[in-house]
Amino acid sequence: MRPQDLLAKAAHNTFRSKLRTTLTVLALFVGAFTLTLTTAVGAGVTDYVTTQVASLGADDVFIVTRTAATTTDGPTPYDPDTSSASDGTTAPGLPGTGSSDPLTEADLDELADFDGIVSVDPIQVAAVDYVEYEGGSRYELTINPTSSVTKSSLVAGKQLGDGSSARQLILPSDYVDALGFDDAESAIGSTVQLGITDVLGKQHTVDAEVVGVAQESLLSSGAGGNTTLVAELADVQAAGVDTGPARYAIAVAHFDTTLTAAQVDDLKGEITAAGFGAQTIQDQLGVIKTVIDGIIGVLNAFAIVALLAAAFGIVNTLLMSVQERTREIGLMKAMGMRSGAVFTLFSLEAIVIGLLGSAIGAGAAILLGTALSGALSAGPLAALPGLHILLFEPGSILGIMLLITAIAFLAGTLPARRAARKDPIESLRYE
């Protein structure tokens, strides 16, 4: 028999017993549907986290904090040279930085001495009161302390130029309308005024040029300011008053980009041993990813169990079909159909069932998932632009379909073998 005839015949036979085929396909549908959705969730979240990390452009930095000394014998005695005052507030910015003791200049020098550390930059914190544009309404604004070392995911404009002597600002996208700009593009290049109160209670304004408009994201909230702007703001805030030794909540340590992952881990261990907390961006996200991977793994396991049950369904369906068509098989063999062709015919029927189940399941999952993803992005997840909780990748969908078809084929080999081995005479006599 010609292969295309076998295939056509298999497809035709599949639809001869519609109810039975439908029920078998339904079992596969459940598996395909679940697998497609869980894989999409995994891909969606992974993709989001990856883009976030990539957009930060900070894969060669440790976020360093001072870990509070773990004391077992009561309060730590005060020493003006080494002790630093803790403000007890949560450091803004990156997740995981948490509350900590400030870092002193001495700490920064110590950090810079580690092998593999290229540079250590303290993150200055500037508490801006408001932002306004050409005398319009004033809005509160937070400048993200790590914005000068990381990149933002831009809607318009360009990244902060760290070496620039101009005071540069990146605005969060939701300030564009509020400040009275027509759109993100028209905000670029304009000068806004930042209001700041110094330690003596006097309010000043500092001009800053808008160089970019950024999307809010999981890792960078608030506005971004380059070093020049932040330093200027800090200066104004200090109002020439000596506030004692410089203290920083966090510092950013750039490490040698040629270091291997293992060396980075070692370096991190050394820094931690010296009483600092050092985390790469990946570390901070790794926890999130591990949890998500775990959840997806469990869901996938359920989907596989569903598929296994479906496989037995296929075996059962096709065994019944072989039994029912005993005489037909006998006739075909009597007419010269070879056992191999009979085997292929029944295997193809299993494959057709597998393809049907997986295609319908994946298709339904994509339809429902896209709608769900859209609704979630517009509703509960609106705060995280760029996050599509369900990401359907053609490659993985194809992979799922192949997997299910392969399972269907394997399940079909048992009945197909039974059909191929039938003796034509016995089969023709079968009542």
Binding site: M335, I425, L428
Partner: protein, 235 residues
């Protein structure tokens, strides 16, 4: 002058069952069937007539003796060649029709050609021509289930005929039909033998049907008791 021998069976026998249950369904049967003959294999149920047909049609292999088709020893052929030979040389008509339910008449008729690997167009043309010859052309697209018994059996004959076989085996072809429609089916079969020279081998217990054949082979308990056309007296 003898016509060319199509089937030549020499002392073939077949046993079924195991151990003490074992019995000989067919014992030392020798017969030669020439091209264009119309042979009836007659016997009661259990006489071994079906077994003989299965052996002659290469659906089963004899335990003893030799069987040659067109002068070729069947034992020398591979399974693949046997299948091909059955497909090309033989047509089958069964008492129970064996039409695939829910499938059109045309698809049922083209089955042997499909198995042979003939392209769809040629299959269709050939099947329609055969159906035309049997006055079934207008039923080509009907569901095989919806036909009357007589029509079904003629579809089965069309299916047997479509591959242009040299031999048609008919196993109780009228067993499921009433006298009138059975008569039509018989006429159709004999016409094929008469007009086209197709060798017809009919297995039946119906002596009336058998009497319409030019040669009758009577079987009892797995052995030939009489053969009206034994080689010596062949017409």
């Amino acid at each position: 002058m003898h016509a060319e021998t199509v089937i030549d069976a020499q002392g073939i026998g077949k046993e079924y069952g195991k151990g003490t249950e074992r019995f000989a369904a067919l014992r030392d049967v020798t017969l030669r069937i020439s091209k264009g003959e119309c042979v009836a294999i007659v016997g009661k149920s259990g006489s071994g007539k079906s077994t003989l047909m299965h052996l002659l049609a290469l659906l089963d292999t004899p335990d003893t003796g030799t069987l040659a088709i067109d002068g070729v020893d069947a034992r020398s052929l591979s399974r693949a060649r046997l299948s091909e030979l059955r497909n090309r040389t033989f047509g089958f008509v069964f008492q129970q029709f064996f039409l695939a339910p829910g499938t059109s008449v045309l698809d049922n008729v083209t089955l042997p050609l499909e198995i042979a690997g003939v392209p769809p167009r040629r299959r269709r043309e050939r099947a329609l021509a055969v159906l035309e010859g049997l006055d079934l052309a207008e039923k080509a697209s009907s569901n095989a289930n919806d036909l009357s018994g007589g029509q079904k059996q003629r579809v089965v004959i069309a299916r047997a005929l479509v591959g242009d076989p040299t031999v048609i085996f008919a196993d109780e072809p009228t067993g499921n039909l009433d006298t009138a429609t059975g008569g039509i089916v018989e006429d159709t079969l004999f016409a094929l033998n008469r007009d086209r020279g197709i060798t017809l081998i009919i297995v039946t217990h119906d002596e009336e049907l058998a009497s319409r054949c030019s040669r009758q082979i009577f079987l009892r308990d797995g052995a030939i008791v009489s053969d009206s056309g034994a080689p010596a007296v062949a017409a």
